[in-house]
């Protein structure tokens, strides 16, 4: 029983990471109907930046905040410089641009920081009061950080004029433009926010998975699964889906299939969800008029 509870809690911790990345994916999806395949690599690169900042002697939380700011600027810049010129191109061309980004960021991380696996510090002391036999302090802390990020995102979108403008753009860009919202910049802001959320997820993931240029591959996949499970057009569904996938994956890895083919769990979840309930658990069902 203890073992099962332990699996569930660490599943929740990892699920929080998936939930954050899933939220980042859904944010970009809602605004542009595109899935950013480079999301994971962007988060990985941010984590490397955090690692360098800590290496230069900055306190962890200062480095954390700085990394979020740098990632935000980076995401904004990528949208303005790389994605914007192709926004009217066919969907597949945009997908190819994302793949190009993925390859570039991955190989640049490899060139700058090398492909060796490096440890990443956890900000949570190993004897903290919130750790116990079920859950390690880092896992508990990581859940708290994820929840904090999600709460901030919620407050931003729900209670600020800027958040309202961004939601308006996602819903109806033409009308938003007509009432004076700068649609292009709202999209860029969305990319910046998604990059920052991904960076937070990466920094929480790195102490568990270790830091290497390919660390985000499987995380991205599980996040996709989470986003789909919750409904890819519903941010809160995506968050819940992310947590669910984290727990499912951990339990399946421990008791059902073993860790070797854990990735197939994501495949099964994705195909299963898409076949049984394509709109996800909380997604809007699409009814099309013929």
């Amino acid at each position: 029983m203890t073992a099962l509870l332990h699996q569930i809690f660490s599943g929740l911790a990892i699920g929080g990471i998936y939930a954050s990345v899933a939220l980042a994916l859904v944010m970009i999806y809602q605004a542009t109907h595109l899935v950013n395949f480079a999301q994971g690599e962007m988060a990985m690169f941010s984590t490397y930046i955090a690692s360098s900042l800590i290496g230069w002697g900055l306190p962890y939380w200062v480095a954390f905040g700085l990394t979020l700011a740098i990632s935000f600027a980076g995401g904004l810049a990528i949208q303005r410089i790389v994605v914007r010129p192709v926004q009217d191109a066919p969907v597949l061309s945009v997908v190819i641009v994302f793949i190009g980004l993925l390859v570039i960021i991955n190989s640049m991380a490899g060139a700058i920081y090398s492909y060796t696996i490096t440890p990443f510090p956890s900000p949570f002391p190993s004897n903290a009061w919130y750790g116990n036999s079920f859950i390690s302090p880092h896992e508990a802390g990581s859940i708290m950080v994820t929840m904090g990020v999600l709460a901030l995102v919620y407050v931003f979108f729900r209670f600020t004029p800027l958040g309202l403008a961004m939601r308006a753009v996602a819903q109806n860009p033409v009308s938003s433009r007509l009432v004076g919202i700068r649609v292009g910049w709202m999209l860029a802001l969305g990319w910046g926010l998604a990059a920052a959320i991904g960076a937070a997820a990466g920094m929480m993931a790195a102490p568990i998975f270790y830091l290497d240029p390919n660390m985000m591959g499987s995380i991205l996949l599980y996040s996709f699964a989470g986003a789909l499970l919750g409904g890819i057009d519903n941010p809160w569904g995506a968050v819940i889906g992310g947590f669910t996938v984290g727990v499912l994956e951990n339990i399946a890895g421990a008791y059902l299939v073993g860790t070797e083919i854990k990735l197939s769990v994501a495949l099964v979840i994705i195909v299963g969800v898409l076949v049984a309930k394509p709109s996800g658990l909380f997604g809007r069902r699409l009814v099309s008029r013929v």
Binding site: Y29, H33, V35, F37, V82, P85, V86, A89, P90, V91, L92, S93, V94, V95, I96, V97, I99, G100, L101, L102, V103, I104, N106, S107, M108, G110, A111, G217, S218, L221, F224, A225, L228, I232, D233, E260, I261, K262, L263, S264, A266, L267, I270, V271, L274, V275, P278, R284, L286, V290
Partner: protein, 386 residues
Amino acid sequence: MSTASAAAPAVPKTLAEKSAVRSWRRAGLAALLLAAVAMPFLVSGYHTFQLTIVLVYAIALLGLNLLTGYNGQISLGHGAFYAIGAYTTAILTAQFDVPYWATVPVAGVICLAVGFLFGLPALRLEGLYLALATFALALATPQLLKFKAFDHWTGGSQGVLVEKPDAPWGLPLTGDQWLYFFCLACAIALFWAGANLVRGRTGRAIVAIRDHPTAAEAMGVNIALYKSMTFGVSALYTGVAGALSAVVTGFVAPDSFPLFLSLSFLVGVVAGGLASISGAVFGAVFIEFVPNLSDEFARNIPYLAKWVLGYTPNVAEQAATASQWTIYGLVLIAFMYLMPTGVAGFVRVLSAALARRRGQGGLSRGNLNHRNWPGTTGPANGGGNP
């Protein structure tokens, strides 16, 4: 009315133009085939090997293009079918002593079945959702191939060795040259079949499903059957390519089929040109040679730096060792900026512009658009966008 009378004499002219284009195209095709046959006698063994790989990729890309370009279903997981084909050949030759040429159709049939079955749930997935499901398939493939329970067949992470065949019937060819001709024969047969498939009634149904599923259904096209069948045929092509790749490289291992392979296929299809038979060849050349050229360029960075700056900075050395894929990615993005419809689309636009300059005004332009209809509409726009 004056436009109509002015346009009327233009019709036979464009028809003549059409047949002229057709005969030019035929001549070009013959020249290309001649060059393809002469190639292995003109270049080194290694380059012959590279060209063989291009042929293999071209077959796989044609398969993916049938699915993505013509039918509008995005797949990021065709590396999985490539792997199934390769492993079928490897296991049959290594464990059952089946001759390599006999394993190729077997691999094709197995992939047809697997692709058809995967296509059934994929029916409910449109656009992006299918892309995600196949993305998961691509990521899971190496892990599944390493799975312990299949070790006996797949050799685990060690993989399986495939014996490279020599030229039969005492032909005066090296092994590489023979394999090149073997793949060339397969490619010609499959391209001929593919071109006919696309041109015929079935092809029109496939394209109609991409462009307007509701209208296609109203016309009596069985969407479920056609979509799964397209998936199956697409997997067949890719599986045959995988089987050939196993023979050509003489080795299969789980890590030869990473996510990157599947992504490369999609890159090849889009860079070559969607919904275009020739696009598959352009795309194959792209994914085989652009990474190599990027590598060569990256390795020359120190010399370039020395030439420009007069000395070799440390950074240049570092960049040389690791920037191959960075350059590849940059080329990829630049390519999408310059030719969003791929090489084949670019050629089409170019030739249309030339014809327009020669012809007079609107009608010939309309005719050109009509003739190039499958490609000009581009891919189905992600299908299931809410």
